[in-house]
Every structure is written in C-alpha cells, then in structure tokens.
C-alpha cells in the first residue's frame, strides 16, 4: 500500500457496467514525509474520501478485496483516510 493525496474526480458515462455507481478519484502518490511524487492514478473510493485528503491506496489484484470491488475490473482502490503518519528519522 502507498500514501496518496486526492487531487480530483473522474466522471465517465460509458464504462464497464460493473463499475457503475463507483466513485472514481484522481490521486497523486506522496512520500511518507508528505512530498508529492510523480504520476497520477485513478482509484475507486471505498471509504468516502474527499478532495485534498491523504489516503491509503492498495493496488493490483488485492484492490478487488476492498469493500464492493469483488469481481470488478479494478486495480487501485482507496481503503483508508489517514489521520496521522509517523516516520522515524533515518539512523
């Protein structure tokens, strides 16, 4: 799993019927220190995340184990909204 920040939403009318009713968000990966990293991802939101929130992303076939994603064409899902991150300084 990785950290990411919600930066936008996606609207799609024509899509796989199994994705109907799913909220799709554009997210940008961030480092543990909170610095934005390169690239963007489209993720299915299963927890009700909102704009600019820091979230936990699960990718690959494990994303289908998120709530409501069973047997759906999904490879990135938001599975948590981050309250707090603590990282020890490097030794």
């Amino acid at each position: 799993m990785i950290l990411a920040r919600v930066v936008g939403t996606v609207v799609a009318t024509r899509k796989d019927p199994r994705l109907e009713g799913k909220k799709l968000l554009v997210v940008k990966p961030v480092s543990p220190e909170g610095k934005e990293e390169s690239g963007y991802l489209v993720a299915v939101d299963t927890v009700g995340a909102g704009a600019k929130e820091l979230v936990i992303l699960v990718s690959g076939s494990s994303a289908r184990m998120a709530e409501g994603c069973k047997d759906k064409p999904v490879d990135t899902a938001i599975v948590g909204i981050v309250d707090n991150v603590h990282v020890s300084p490097p030794k």
Partner: protein
C-alpha cells in the same frame, strides 16, 4: 519476498472493514547489508514488528493470505521478523 526495515506507522480511523484492527507500518526496503533500497511502502503486519526492526515482507495478492480466512485488502504484509542475517560473508544480528 523482500527484506525491509520498519521506519514508521500510519493511523487511519476511516478504513475498509477488512483493515479493521490491522497495524499499518511503513517499511523501507533494504539490501542484505541493510542499506536503503527503494521507496518506503505501507505494510500490514501479522508478526507484531516494531520500529527499527529488520523484517521480510511479501507483496501482491499473496500478502493477504497471511490473514486467511479473514479477507484483508492488503498488497504488502510483514510476514517475519529477522533474528540473524548471513549474506556475502557478513553476519548481522537483527
């Protein structure tokens, strides 16, 4: 599976039901001589690992098998805490 060092922790109150009760730790991949080897990743933990410990972790769908029969939506899980590491003629007690 890969070697890693636990460097931090993430807290989330709002989360997928399957992650309820799981500790989420930041793990930095390391080489066999315990040098940093890539971007940190958030791992679920089935071992009770703590900050600074050297562990090995697996990724992908298989990482959720550590919690069977529970269905935990994780793509990276700490599956062991190292006691000792012998590689390249060097030994480390972890």
């Amino acid at each position: 599976m890969q070697l890693g060092r636990v460097i931090g922790r993430v807290w989330a109150t709002v989360k997928d039901q399957g992650l309820e009760g799981q500790r989420l730790l930041f793990v930095e991949p390391v080489t066999p001589d315990l040098r940093s080897a890539g971007k940190p990743i958030i791992c679920a933990d089935c071992t009770g690992a703590g900050a600074g410990e050297i562990v090995y972790w697996c990724r992908g769908r298989e990482s959720s098998f550590a919690f069977l029969p529970a269905e935990v939506p994780t793509d990276a899980t700490i599956v062991a805490i190292l006691d000792e590491l012998h590689a390249g003629g060097e030994s480390h007690r972890c």
